[in-house]
Symmetry: C2
Subunit: 357 residues, 2 copies
Amino acid sequence: MANRFVVIMAGGKGERFWPASRMRRPKHLLPIVGDKPMLAQTVDRLEGFIEPKNIFVITDVEQLEGVRDVCPSLPRENFVAEPVGRDTAAAVGLAMLLIKEKDPDASLAMLPADALIRDMVGFQKALDVAFLASEERPQLVTIGIRPTDPATGYGYIQKGDSIGDYNGTKVFKVIEFKEKPDLETAKVYLESGDYYWNAGMFVWSVRAISDALAQFAPKLQSGLDQIENRISEGEDLNELLAELYPELEKISIDFAVMEKADNVVTLSATFDWDDVGAWPAIERHFPKDSNNNVATGEAVFEDCRGNIVVGEKGHLVALIGVDDLIVVNTKDATLVCKKDDAQKIKNLVKGLSPDRV
Amino acid sequence: MANRFVVIMAGGKGERFWPASRMRRPKHLLPIVGDKPMLAQTVDRLEGFIEPKNIFVITDVEQLEGVRDVCPSLPRENFVAEPVGRDTAAAVGLAMLLIKEKDPDASLAMLPADALIRDMVGFQKALDVAFLASEERPQLVTIGIRPTDPATGYGYIQKGDSIGDYNGTKVFKVIEFKEKPDLETAKVYLESGDYYWNAGMFVWSVRAISDALAQFAPKLQSGLDQIENRISEGEDLNELLAELYPELEKISIDFAVMEKADNVVTLSATFDWDDVGAWPAIERHFPKDSNNNVATGEAVFEDCRGNIVVGEKGHLVALIGVDDLIVVNTKDATLVCKKDDAQKIKNLVKGLSPDRV
């Protein structure tokens, strides 16, 4: 059996979780849901399935230290920092180079650092199926999430015919990747049963993704080739990245490859999944009081309905006569935001002075 | 001219200003409006009119130290602590005893510690008129505030005929004290021009208030007599208060005396006045942004109208998509309250554990 690797993508600023998340302490470094940072939960979820030495984390320079701190089980050299963000296709290329150096015949899974998945057994089973599919043929496997509601915040994957069965799990040809739909379209998707949410979890062999990048993103691939050549001449990876990474084409892997390649397949995850994309998501994971208020930390509610309070130990948050608010208190900042306006947090954060973000 | 004294009433817990105000740091010890605690502003307002040695402060045991700290210009011995609160009539009686000991022919003004008055000249002029009236005849003078709106949160004073003129200011007989009215009644009061707000500012001679207490609150007066007798035997005031003060009749001065005596007179204050009774009051005293938001401390507003933010230096409060809220942040507690529900704060505080209030 070919070697299997996992590369966890731990970039991003997590502005949607301000003020709990900050530049150096983004969402995946926080225990937004659960008692460990989301990244640590992602690493734990692989236990017994992938050896720690085969788990890599791609992050950015500013977070590198914090990311290492929450993953004490992983070897220090398995953390790679992008000097600047160049979107997901460049990160996929970097992951491919890292793994190719270890084993050009390997397959690798690319996983986001900050999704919430509680069913570890189901997760590992789905990942195993995806690896098997990637090992049998040079195909690009994406793990689809069966939608539970007509969400407009995710991209969708339209599945076609089954191409086979791995340990009892069917794998399907992907007909098309769909952009985030409007509500009407999302309802149609949900009803048809032929669409999955795109959770950004991919599995492929080094060879398959290398070929796909060469075919559909030749500019990016030639930048990656340059890095690869100079690594083989013995140059230092970090110095090379500092010099060449900022020059790589900036494009998403979906746009660069997944929407173009004709060897993309998918399987339907049976495990639970929540990308916990913004504050309103957390109320799905905490007990509610009789008025649908949710609190992490100390809170009192008087004549209130449907609020989310995120506090810190030793700090009391008291709400009186308010509905459907998100209230987040940290040592140096407090957010009070209408739940429906949670998508505006990111913009607000962009306008803040650097010491506040 | 008889000696003039001022006794400032600095009791009360200030629950309405939680979480900024606390048991040991009530409203008058905070710079709710202005850059000094309200009590310090009250002392400053007397400058040049009453000598510091003639200004006394009645507070409670728990606040004594804090109260002394914000009034460095007053002699240490001019602070008297009630061992327990026994409502305003007992405090008036205690003030009367204190001043009587200094000069039985004196007049004294009783002033709340936490009202906001900016017109110091107008204030001193009104106080001078009240003293003159109290010195001329044994009458109980209350300073009335000309209402600017049909407020339902204050008691009203119905004035009758003028009984005279002091330095060009007319003084009127009081026909009746009125309880807090409903809105309709308040509108009638406002329109008639014959009603003033009762601001709890009284001026009287030792003799006049002593006679009034003896006549209308004989039970209270006999308790006070007991304290007075034992003081004259050389006993320590604080020990006496600890023993006898808790036994005094608990009743308000309005109910015990002002509503019953027939020698009550009033004058209309020309100075500005705001009792700053609860958080919504503060928006009258801070600049508003174009959406009527008011902030003390650092705040950002996005798509918000009519909010009040009270923060501390170094802590950013961000509001998104909310209207008409009071948001108060302190080190260990945050309040988010609909402006219309500000009267519920007091009740909420009553339900909190002692370390939170």
